[in-house]
């Protein structure tokens, strides 16, 4: 990441100097401004979800969900870290039901908890790959936009979308197994 940052930054600066040096500082400030507003938006949605999730956790609901998904998730991620599996269960089911706002904070804490494991590289890579495949029951945002744009048949994308998500999932899992999977357990 450090090398990418350096390379993209330097090439971009060189181009900005040639084209329009006055645009340099405004671009940087608009970038950091975007980070500030993104964090404010995240703070608002995290406050709702993390509060709600704490209630669900205290009521024992998260533990139940994690237990139900345990046979699958524990084998896939190769971890027995109960706390992490709980957050993984929340993240995956929130993603599946299209609640991105709830998924992200749980995903972050799952990542951190998985990082506490002894051999965490595999679990973290696998979790990230599964997470990024975007498998969901109902792509609500895309469908809403299609209806808004006056689609005759807004649902015609469901089958190709499912197939494409499934391909991303299988491919991601396969690649992680290929790169990390040699030593078993």
């Amino acid at each position: 990441m450090n090398a990418v940052f350096l390379a993209v930054f330097l090439v971009s600066v060189a181009l900005v100097i040639v084209r329009d040096p006055a645009a340099f500082l405004p671009a940087l400030l608009s970038g950091s401004g975007k980070a500030v507003s993104a964090c404010l938006a995240l703070a608002a949605s995290y406050a709702v979800w993390m509060g709600f999730l704490k209630i669900a956790e205290s009521a024992g609901i998260l533990r139940g969900m994690a237990r139900a998904m345990r046979p699958l998730s524990s084998r896939l991620l190769r971890t027995r870290n109960e706390k992490a599996l709980e957050q993984v269960a929340v993240n995956l089911s929130a993603n599946f039901f299209g609640m991105g706002g709830a998924a992200t904070p749980a995903g972050i804490s799952a990542m951190n908890l998985l990082g506490a494991d002894k051999d965490s590289e595999f679990s973290r890579a696998m979790f990230f790959a599964v997470n990024c495949s975007g498998v969901q029951l109902f792509p609500a945002t895309a469908l809403a936009l299609r209806v808004q744009a006056g689609a005759e048949n807004p649902y015609s994308i469901l089958l190709p979308a499912y197939l494409s998500e499934l391909a991303a999932l299988l491919l991601g899992v396969a690649l992680v197994l290929l790169f990390y999977g040699r030593k078993r357990r």
Binding site: M1, V16, A27, A47, M50, A59, T104, A125, F128, E165
Partner: protein, 170 residues
């Protein structure tokens, strides 16, 4: 189209009912959960700022536009309409960016056109890989965070290509 909007209120009500049934102190728990928000954001903000500053500079330098026009023949060769290439490029970085781009494509080419359907599938499948990696790998320094990101990126890219193919034959 209406039933998804029922999911959240019903879910919240159900969880709170279970909490009440098990005598959980709901208000204290809610506050306890929210307490974790600011430390979480404090650890995320530096990395988000790094990415957004870089992305803005990337855009301002004209590098992104140049890259886009340079890559469009490659996308056409892969069976992706030229109009959708920007979506492929923005999707890994920004959810709001690809959202506005999808809205634009749908209104310009029609939601039922091949371009409209293909754009919807590309948007719906996969995730904002680089954005998520900034969030997920910010906390603890993994030894090789580049590899998982690369894997997820490749998987998403290929499956989006497949999605365009499925749109054509289905």
């Amino acid at each position: 189209m209406i039933w998804p909007s029922y999911i959240l209120p019903v879910l919240f009500a159900a969880v709170l009912l279970v909490a009440a049934f098990r005598r959980v102190k709901a208000y204290d728990c809610f506050a306890e959960g929210v307490k974790g928000v600011l430390p979480l954001l404090a650890s995320l903000f530096p990395y988000i700022a790094g990415i957004t500053v870089l992305a803005e500079l990337f855009e301002a330098s004209g590098l992104s536009a140049g890259l886009r026009s340079a890559l469009s023949p490659a996308f056409t060769a892969l069976g992706v309409p030229e109009e959708i290439a920007p979506l492929f490029l923005i999707k890994p970085f920004s959810g709001s960016g690809s959202l506005s781009l999808l809205g634009d494509l749908l209104s310009r080419y029609g939601a039922d056109s091949y371009i409209g359907r293909c754009a919807s599938v590309v948007y719906a499948s996969g995730e904002t890989v680089f954005y998520l990696s900034a969030l997920y790998f910010a906390g603890r320094g993994g030894k090789r965070p580049a590899l998982p990101v690369f894997i997820a990126f490749v998987a998403n890219f290929l499956s989006a290509l497949l999605g365009c193919l499925f749109c054509r034959i289905l």
